[in-house]
C-alpha cells in the first residue's frame, strides 16, 4: 500500500510533471537570482538553494506538487545578517533554521498554525508583497529613462503574452526579449553580472567556516528562529492553497520536517534558507504538475540550465529582473483584502493593517506576525471579557435574581462584583449562571468575594445553572479564598 502510494506520488503523472517542472525551472531562475540580490549575496547562493531545496523536498516533503526554493520572505529576513556578518554566517543560520523546522515537524507543531489568525496571514502576505516591491526601488536610483522603459516593456510582455500563448512562461520570454534588446542595442544598463559572480558548477558539500562558539550561536539563533517560523508559515499556507487547488489532502507535519531537511542540505551546499512558494506552486499546478516528479524536475532542470547557460545569465539586465519582481509582488498581494477592508470587522482590519505596518517599519516579517498575533489575542480577550448581568426582583420571596451572561476569567472579573447591589433589602440572592462559563481561579475568587459581601449583610446566595465544567472547577477551588477570612 505504502509503496503503491509512493509510486503514484512519483510516477502517477509523468508527462504532466516533467513539462510543468521545466516551466517552473524557467520561472524559478529569475526569482532565485532576484532574491539573492535582495538578501545581498551572489546569485549562486539563491540558485544553489533553489536546486537543493527543490530536489530534497521532492523526496521528503508532505505535499506533492508543491514547489519550494529560495523565496522573498526568507531573503528579506537575512539582509542584516549578511550585511553584518557575511555569507558563512548565513549558511550556518540556514542549517540551524532547518534543525529548528525538523524539531517543529517531529513535535507536530504544524497545528500551532491555527493560532495565527487569518487577518495576520493576510497582513503577512500583503507586507511581503510590499517589501518585495520596495526592494526593487533602489535599482531605479541613478538610472535614466531607459530603465523605466525596459521595466515597462518587461511588465507589458509578462501580462500580455499569456493572451496569445501560454506554452512558454511569459516572464522568461520578457527576460529574453529585454536581454536581447540590451545586448544587441548596446544599451548601458546594470546587469546581473554587476550584482555578483556566477559560477557554472554544481554545488559542493562544505561546512560553513565560522567559529563554533556560543557567541556565533547567539548571533545566528534569532535569525534562524525567525526564518524557521516564517518559512513554515508560508509553506503550510501554500500547502493549504495547493490542497484546495487540487482538491487533495497533504501531510503538514511531514512537510514541516521536509522543509527542515531541505534547509539543512541547502546550508551545507552553499544555499540560503528557503520555503514553499505560493506563486511557483500555482504555476506548477496550472501547468499540469501534480506529483513529486514535477518538483524534482524543476530543481534538476534549473541546475542544468545554470551549468549550461550561466554565461548568458550574467548578461540579463537588472531592468528585466526588476520587472519580474514587480510582477511577483503584484501576484503576491491579496487584492481582495483591500476591496473588502471596510466590510471586515473593525478589529480584524486593524490587526491586518498593524501587521503590515510593523513589517514595513521593521523590515522583519516575523515581528509583524508576532505583533499581529498579540494584538488579535488582546482584541479577543477584550471581546469575550464583556459580561452582562441582568437583575430581577421576586417580591413575594424577597429574592433578587442576577442573570450572568458571558465568560468569567481573569480579564473579565475585575468590574464584575460592581454589578451587584450588596446593600439590597432582600433575604436571598440567586445567581443564574446558565449562560456563563467559569474559566479560572479568578472567576471563582470573584464569586467567593460576592458571596462574602452578601453574607456580611445577611443575604444568602444560591447558584443555579452552573454547567458541569464550571461546577467541577468551583468545587475544586471554591471556598479557598473565603476560608482565609
Amino acid at each position: 500500500m505504502r509503496a503503491e502510494q509512493l509510486k503514484q506520488e512519483w510516477f502517477g503523472n509523468v508527462k504532466g510533471d516533467v513539462l510543468a517542472g521545466i516551466v517552473v525551472a524557467l520561472a524559478l531562475i529569475p526569482e532565485a537570482i532576484a532574491f539573492s540580490i535582495i538578501a545581498g549575496v551572489d546569485p549562486m547562493v539563491g540558485l544553489y538553494a533553489s536546486f537543493c531545496i527543490a530536489v530534497v523536498i521532492a523526496f521528503v516533503g508532505g505535499r506533492p506538487g508543491m514547489i519550494s526554493a529560495a523565496t522573498g520572505a526568507m531573503a528579506l529576513l537575512m539582509v542584516n545578517l549578511v550585511a553584518d556578518h557575511g555569507l558563512e554566517y548565513l549558511l550556518a543560520a540556514t542549517i540551524l533554521t532547518g534543525v529548528i523546522q525538523i524539531i517543529f515537524g517531529i513535535f507536530k507543531l504544524a497545528s500551532v498554525m491555527k493560532f495565527v489568525p487569518r487577518s495576520v496571514m493576510v497582513g503577512f502576505v500583503n507586507a511581503l508583497a510590499i517589501l518585495i516591491f520596495t526592494a526593487q526601488l533602489p535599482h531605479f536610483v541613478g538610472e535614466g529613462w531607459v530603465m523605466y522603459v525596459l521595466v515597462g516593456l518587461t511588465l507589458a510582455i509578462i501580462y500580455l503574452l499569456p493572451r496569445i500563448t501560454k506554452a512558454v512562461p511569459s516572464a522568461l520570454v520578457a527576460i529574453i526579449v529585454v536581454s536581447v534588446i540590451v545586448v544587441f542595442g548596446n544599451i548601458q544598463v546594470g546587469t546581473v553580472g554587476d550584482m555578483g559572480s556566477l559560477t557554472q558548477q554544481l554545488p559542493v558539500f562544505l561546512i560553513p567556516s565560522i567559529p563554533f562558539t556560543l557567541e556565533t550561536l547567539m548571533i545566528i539563533f534569532p535569525y534562524s528562529l525567525a526564518l524557521a517560523i516564517v518559512g513554515l508559515l508560508e509553506s503550510l499556507l501554500t500547502a493549504n492553497i495547493i490542497d484546495d487547488m487540487t482538491d487533495t489532502e497533504s501531510n503538514k507535519n511531514r512537510e514541516s520536517r521536509g522543509q527542515g531537511i531541505a534547509n539543512v542540505v541547502a546550508g551545507f551546499f552553499g544555499g540560503m534558507a528557503g520555503c514553499a512558494m505560493i506563486g511557483q506552486s500555482g504555476i506548477n499546478v496550472k501547468s499540469g504538475g501534480r506529483g513529486r516528479l514535477s518538483t524534482f524536475v524543476a530543481g534538476v532542470f534549473l541546475m542544468f540550465l545554470i551549468v549550461v547557460l550561466g554565461g548568458l545569465v550574467v548578461q540579463i539586465p537588472m531592468a528585466a529582473l526588476v520587472g519580474v519582481m514587480i510582477m511577483v509582488s503584484i501576484g503576491t498581494f491579496d487584492w481582495s483584502s483591500v476591496r473588502t477592508l471596510h466590510k471586515l470587522p473593525r478589529t480584524d482590519a486593524i490587526v491586518m493593517v498593524v501587521t503590515v505596518g510593523v513589517v514595513v517599519y521593521t523590515n522583519d516579517l516575523s515581528k509583524g506576525v508576532l505583533a499581529g498575533v498579540l494584538l488579535s489575542a488582546i482584541f479577543f480577550a477584550a471581546k469575550i471579557s464583556k459580561v452582562k448581568v441582568t437583575e430581577e426582583l421576586v417580591m413575594r420571596e424577597q429574592k433578587r435574581i442576577y442573570r450572568v451572561e458571558g465568560q468569567l476569567f481573569f480579564a473579565s472579573v475585575s468590574d464584575f462584583p460592581g454589578k451587584f447591589n450588596f446593600t439590597d433589602s432582600v433575604k436571598e440572592v440567586e445567581i443564574d449562571l446558565t449562560y456563563a462559563h467559569l474559566w479560572d481561579d479568578s472567576a471563582i475568587g470573584a464569586l467567593d468575594k460576592i458571596e462574602m459581601k452578601f453574607a456580611q449583610n445577611n443575604i444568602e446566595v444560591h447558584y443555579t445553572g452552573l454547567n458541569t465544567a464550571s461546577r467541577q472547577l468551583k468545587n475544586r477551588i471554591g471556598g479557598l479564598t473565603k476560608a482565609e477570612h
Binding site: 500580455l160 484546495d244 487547488m245
Partner: protein, 138 residues
C-alpha cells in the same frame, strides 16, 4: 434532446440570467441541470487566506452559488450542484466532454474588445472546444 444540461454558475448577475434559461430548457426537454462552480487558482488562494478551516471555505462557496441553487430549487426541475477546481474554461470543457452532457448554458460577461484581449473570454473558449451545443446567455 437536451436531457443533461450543464450550467456554469459563479453566483454572478450573468449566471443568474443563465440559470433561468437552463431551467426553461430543462422544463421543455424534461432534463437534469447540473450547476457547476469552478474555483480557479487565484480564487483558491484568497479563499484559503481568508477562511480558518476547510469547512468554512466550503460553506462560503456554497453561499456564493446559493442564488443559483435557490432558483433551481424553486423551479422544481431536477438538479444538482458541483464545485470543480482549475482554470474556468478548460475545466468546464473537460468536465462536459468526459461526462457526455447534451448542452452547456453559460453567461457572457459582456466585455469589450480590449477587456476580452486582456482577460480572455471563458464562454468563447468553452463554445469552441466542447462537443455539444452551447447556449451563451447575454
Amino acid at each position: 434532446m437536451f436531457r443533461k444540461i450543464l450550467l456554469a454558475a459563479d453566483g454572478s448577475e450573468h449566471s443568474i440570467r443563465s440559470t433561468n434559461y437552463a431551467i426553461e430548457l430543462a422544463e421543455k426537454f424534461n432534463g437534469i441541470v447540473e450547476a457547476v462552480y469552478v474555483v480557479d487558482g487565484s480564487t483558491a488562494k484568497s479563499d484559503v487566506l481568508h477562511a480558518a478551516t476547510k469547512f468554512e471555505i466550503e460553506l462560503k462557496r456554497k453561499e456564493k452559488i446559493k442564488v443559483v441553487k435557490d432558483l433551481l430549487e424553486a423551479s422544481g426541475v431536477e438538479y444538482k450542484t458541483n464545485i470543480l477546481h482549475g482554470e474556468a474554461g478548460p475545466t468546464i470543457v473537460d468536465y462536459v466532454n468526459e461526462n457526455d452532457f447534451d448542452c452547456v448554458v453559460i453567461g457572457s460577461r459582456g466585455l469589450n474588445n480590449l477587456q476580452t484581449f486582456i482577460l480572455g473570454s471563458v464562454s468563447h473558449k468553452v463554445a469552441k472546444r466542447v462537443d455539444c451545443p452551447v447556449l451563451i446567455v447575454k
